[in-house]
């Protein structure tokens, strides 16, 4: 295989695609869209109240009102330092009065605490808008605390002790790496990394894979392919295309990552980055190459866009498999069977991405996984080249799977 020619093809595919409007648009639009999706809802959700909200209370026990009021004032403040909530006892304690107060706008909602709250353990929230989850959750947790405290002090426990005893316990996970060095790591952050990794990989393979198949189809339909094949081997051509479009994908990823990190700089700081994270990058690149070559292999016998779409549909199903398995992985990222899956090319990239941040696989596993992936990629590229070369002059009739297998195995 002539590296020079492979590089010539790779260079062409890269430069010609980078210049297209479609690529430039996707480069800018996609992050903009994602930013919109992430930032806007959180902006809306976390938008703090600006004025104190008045909440009515019908307290049939007579003991909850003051405790709830002080608890809410303690916990929730407006940006200007004033209390977020003000508890307003409903004079007379009738629901009709309370309802009128809500309708008049004197209070936005009210709660009804029955005398049997300690045993029934429930209270009522009345409002015109019962989907204000933030407010409801806060009320619920406050009332729960108050009821608990009251119950305990009834049975003779000192409220101070109750307070001290009910303080939350923080959990700090510490990962001991093979070399004995200690670093803080969250199981959660590992799983997030794994998920993000797999999903981003799938998105990239799909977009670039489609580009690849389309470029092959174009050359087939305008017969440029004859000139190409009289200049270099089909294997060189396919390898060049896959490498070129992979670089294109990596460029896209780099730009997006840079944009993403600069936007989410704050949030990213919470993710603890494990020391061997660069292996994740290695598996991303190799995984991308592998899936791309599988994609081309599936798409290369096609002569029309529809045929190509059908063929690549099956590849997409395979691509989604790791996402499905990811749920099982989330339960126990150190399970033994994952070691086996990690060595099967279709799963290697995402399995490694799940495992590396949680408990790093042995070095031999990493090396073996990468090697298997690389070798499989090589064979897929060769097979794609052969299938392509033989399929090139087959028109009208779609080759059977048996024929494809024979082509792929045939010596060049």
């Amino acid at each position: 295989m002539s590296i020079k020619k492979v590089l010539a093809v790779a260079r062409w595919e890269f430069i010609e695609k980078v210049r297209t409007k479609a690529f430039i648009i996707s480069l800018i639009l996609m992050p903009a869209f994602m930013a919109l999706m992430m930032v806007v809802p959180s902006l809306i959700a976390s938008k703090p109240d600006t004025t104190t909200i008045k909440i009515g209370i019908i307290d049939k026990t007579g003991r909850i009102t003051s405790a709830l009021s002080s608890d809410l004032i303690d916990k929730f403040k407006l940006p200007n330092g004033k209390p977020n909530y003000e508890i307003v006892p409903v004079t007379g304690g009738h629901r009709e009065d309370a309802n009128n107060m809500v309708l008049d706008g004197q209070i936005s909602s009210y709660v009804v605490i029955d005398t049997n709250i300690l045993t029934a353990r429930k209270f009522e929230y009345v409002s015109q808008n019962v989907s204000n989850i933030k407010e409801i959750e806060r009320l619920q947790s406050s009332v729960k605390d108050i009821v608990e405290t009251e119950e305990l002090s009834r049975s003779g426990v000192n409220p101070e002790i109750v307070k001290a005893a009910s303080k939350p316990v923080d959990l700090e996970t510490v990962k001991l790496s093979k070399t004995g060095s200690v670093e803080k790591a969250g199981v959660g952050s590992g799983l997030i990394l794994g998920y993000v990794f797999t999903i981003v990989l799938v998105i990239f393979v799909l977009t670039s894979g489609q580009l690849l198949v389309r470029s092959v189809l174009e050359e087939k339909s305008n017969r440029i392919v004859e000139v190409l094949l009289s200049s270099l081997t089909a294997e060189e051509m396919m390898t060049g295309k896959i490498v070129g479009l992979s670089l294109l994908g990596m460029t896209q990823l780099a730009v997006w990552a840079a944009v993403g990190l600069s936007f989410a700089g704050q949030a990213a700081a919470y993710l603890t980055i494990p020391s061997n994270v660069w292996w994740v990058g290695v598996f991303f690149f190799l995984g991308f190459l592998f899936y791309a070559s599988v994609f081309v292999m599936a798409g290369s016998p096609a002569t029309t866009e529809q045929e190509a779409q059908q063929a690549t549909f099956y590849v997409m199903m395979v691509l989604y498999l790791p996402i499905v398995i990811a749920f099982a992985v989330a339960q126990n990222p150190t399970a033994g069977y994952l070691k086996v899956l990690s060595l099967i090319p279709f799963f290697t990239p995402s399995m490694m991405a799940f495992r590396i941040p949680v408990q790093s696989p042995d070095l031999w596993e990493l090396v073996a996984g990468a090697t298997i992936l690389l070798v499989s990629t090589y064979f897929c590229m060769i097979a794609a080249g052969r299938i392509f070369r033989i399929g090139i002059l087959v028109y009208g009739k779609r080759p059977t799977f048996k024929e494809l297998a024979r082509w792929a195995l045939k010596k060049g």
Binding site: A8, S230, S231, T233, L393
Partner: protein, 306 residues
Amino acid sequence: MLQVEHLRKTYSATVALDDVTFEVRPGEIFGLIGPNGAGKTTTIRISLDIIEPDSGTVRFNREKLTPEKKNVLAYLPEERGLYRKSKVIDVLVYFGTLRGVQPVEARKRAEGWLKKFELSAYGNRKVDELSKGMQQKVQFISCLLHDPELLILDEPFSGLDPVNQILMKDMIRELKQSGKTIVFSTHQMEQAEKLCDKICLINKGKVVLYGSLSEIKKSHGSNAIHLEFEGESWRLRELSDVATMDLYENYAEIKMKDGIDGQILLKRAIDLVTVKKFSIEEASLNSIFIEAVSQRDQPGGEKNVN
């Protein structure tokens, strides 16, 4: 330069090529001629290793065609195709680098050729923006960038206007003079006759005639009667002792049966039409072609595949 031996290729039920053998010598202009669907393009594709034969071999300078050796070949396909959305100069440089030329050198050469073909102004245009004729020139330039030893041109004259046909013909001659070997396919006998040193006539996948053009013409004798006339051409069909006749409205090329003197034909023809010009010359390639092809098709000749 190029040795093609015993090629056989079948497409499901049809035999596209059957025992095709020929050799192209260095410095020759070699014409691969035959009617449409004869197997010319299939022969070319196999020669260039684009498709594989069922059996038979193609050798280049008596050796197997390896990927590295492809760098000294050039191919102009019949169905022209360039990247439509890309710049002319970029496409040319790309095709050059695919044949092993350094990008900088390829660009320099591409600019030189564009100038020669009076296309300098179009180097930075997209291929799409060029006329069909210009695109064909660009495609031809793409064959020249790597200074090939052997050029294989599939129907180089098809789709060209008369001016550009002349340009193409001059280019082929020029390339021969600079020591290149050229193989081209055509079904236009006039072009082949004017250019070729050697021809290989293929019909229905088989080699019907093969050899140097002058020898083939000699073997067909210099007893072809060229007749220019006025009058009702169909009346010439009444002539007897005619072996073959290629009849047009006011021109006919006639071959008499062996031993029949051409003068007799003249006498008889005068009674049928007004003869304007009468000459006995070498047969034209066109009539040789028609004779060879029709002999095969006649019952009792080579068995008709259809």
